[in-house]
Symmetry: C2
Subunit: 198 residues, 2 copies
């Protein structure tokens, strides 16, 4: 198709590369950008580059941060005896959104996936084991509920249990607002297995 | 909620301001940006600012363009005797996507909306009338099918007809792939009224 502006075409192509954004959405976003004041667009452009320039990894939990160690690892308000292990930084964001969890995190940077050639040395397993010294009381495994996440959970449980730490995993079951009728067999099985005493 | 990085938080807020992008999508986009190589992110940032710096309006059709007059208005391959009147530049993109229309465009920059204080002098009506001289054979009105678009269509028809030009409007009816059962009354009425002879 024909664009009357090369600059617009380039921006549309850039937007269309983002996950979950197709050509139509990209067009809408680009035209929205065109309507905004120049200083706001410059601010957005600077925010993009600044993310690449300012963000590093926390040397303790391997989450993304501006300062090392990160503000979660440094916070006196958090429980330093509990570590929640997740795959990616966006999992930390998801858990933080709940405003429920008060412990620390450990970001593996992926999950075990032999088919993709990702072994224990490719994710931050050694760093996790080094953190689990006498002071840590509980390690919560919060992997994604898929094959790779499952494998990672089993692998980490085997390594962590001998260290004398309490190892737990987050519950799998019917999502809140979900419908029993439409839940798949595996989820229902997990929901039954993980039933709570009332 | 708590972000461990101010730079990331800023980028998420910037993304969340875009239309159709909520906080969750913005987080996903920002983390995607973080994973991309720096030079690609810089390219995207430049594309953003360049859209604001390079794009102007075509002095003939008022569409967005890098060069004035725009490549559609200049193209010898297009039919210069047909002008399709649309509300916004994204309507031009939508029509160009079809690869069917070969005439020129005229972008009004909005539609008549007395409630919002938008009158004929706020959109490019005068400029349209100036273009309709002896050479233009047909003016196709392609306003959005809502109250404002309807008012604009009626208003423009009244102004254009005395100039001796053929004035048409795009068909309203059942969308392709749509379901008769779920079509609203107004759409069905228009579809009946606009029925074609086979």
């Amino acid at each position: 198709m024909l664009y009357t502006s090369e600059a617009l075409q380039q921006l549309i192509e850039e937007f269309a590369q983002l996950p979950g954004i197709g050509t139509k959405s990209a067009q809408r976003l680009a035209l929205y950008v065109l309507k905004r004041p120049r200083e706001e667009v410059v601010k957005m452009a600077n925010a993009l580059v600044s993310v690449k320039d300012r963000i590093k990894y926390c040397s303790s939990c391997w989450n993304i941060t501006d300062v090392d160690p990160c503000i979660i690892c440094c916070s006196p308000k958090r429980e330093h005896e509990v570590i929640c292990v997740v795959e990616e930084p966006n999992d930390v964001l998801a858990l933080e959104r709940t405003n429920e969890y008060r412990g620390l995190y450990h970001v593996l940077g992926g999950s075990l996936s032999p088919l993709d050639g990702i072994g224990p040395e490719d994710i931050k397993v050694r760093e996790l084991l080094a953190r689990v010294n006498g002071k840590v009381k509980e390690v919560i495994l919060a992997m994604n509920p898929n094959v790779e996440g499952e494998a990672t959970t089993i692998y980490l449980t085997r390594l962590l249990k001998p260290l004398g730490v309490k190892v737990t995993r987050i519950a799998r079951g019917i999502p809140v607002g979900g419908d029993l009728e439409f839940a798949d067999d595996a989820t229902l099985t997990r929901a039954l297995e993980g039933r709570e005493i009332l």
